[in-house]
Symmetry: C3
Subunit: 136 residues, 3 copies
Amino acid sequence: MRDPGEFPPSSKDTKMPIERRHVGKRLSEAVVFTPGGERLVYLAGQVADDPKADMKSQTAQVLAAIDRLLGEVGSDKTRILSATLYLPDMRDFATLNALWEAWVVPGHTPARATVQAALAGPDYKVEIQIVATAPA
Amino acid sequence: MRDPGEFPPSSKDTKMPIERRHVGKRLSEAVVFTPGGERLVYLAGQVADDPKADMKSQTAQVLAAIDRLLGEVGSDKTRILSATLYLPDMRDFATLNALWEAWVVPGHTPARATVQAALAGPDYKVEIQIVATAPA
Amino acid sequence: MRDPGEFPPSSKDTKMPIERRHVGKRLSEAVVFTPGGERLVYLAGQVADDPKADMKSQTAQVLAAIDRLLGEVGSDKTRILSATLYLPDMRDFATLNALWEAWVVPGHTPARATVQAALAGPDYKVEIQIVATAPA
């Protein structure tokens, strides 16, 4: 049997039915959610309110929007199951990761994928799509 | 406490365990699903049956395929949680949005992300990936 | 009513609460999951450990990583609900499909979408993002 105190490679939060495996500072390789009573939260792909801002500012705006939306439904960033990050320019990857790693909560990093993709407007520098859970 | 009659920014359907926040004509910023008894539905990325058709026709084919598949499992487009839209050419974004907004049901718009990506065949103009719920 | 023995277009596994529709050798058009008691599993986007390897080897590495991670949480590839495949070069699509189709279990193919996207490192040739279920 696994040891709940093991960290990494496995983290089981006693307060919520989420177990994370191979927990890194950027992502967990697997995130397991037991739905009993909890809610699933899907956020729209978040982009910056101000697309003329630079990469750092756009990323901060996106992360703040995620915090705000999760908070509205009683969730928070420790409950993110999955994050898909879209970057038009992969040269922004290091900047994104630095801000992301400062934002996520150690031990609660989500499953994450990052791919290059142009976004709906030419000035957007990052878009993030979130699946999370919230208490009932 | 939230008011179920509030719309926007929040919509809670009395018939199904889905709550939507910041409901717009195109998307909701957050969609919350309480799994008790309901089923989760994942559709394959849908592309047009006829890849030689134009953007309008391809989009109509994709939306019809989604309607058909959801119908087969007892679901429908009011129960979509999340939609990821892939467009090879972002110049088709306005056309896509017009058709999409005419198709979605007001008050039941899903969390949505749209990014630019080339698709499996060079003629495909749009692909849509859906997560929905269905009654038990 | 549907016939559980129908295959294709519908497959309902008696051992797990997953029903698949229009089951093909590559994907199922719809995968329906009834959450009662099962767990949901989100994997990080998997890329090859060795990005200098060729497409065949990278794909094999990615599929092995998925097998390994699913195994760690008591799941396996017959329980995949959804797979999103990212390919930087769509000319690798046929190679990917051949390896994928040899890997998936007939009758248990997931909902799948494949799009072209550059990945975090220039040498990566494929990334796969998985949502699966696991027994309680």
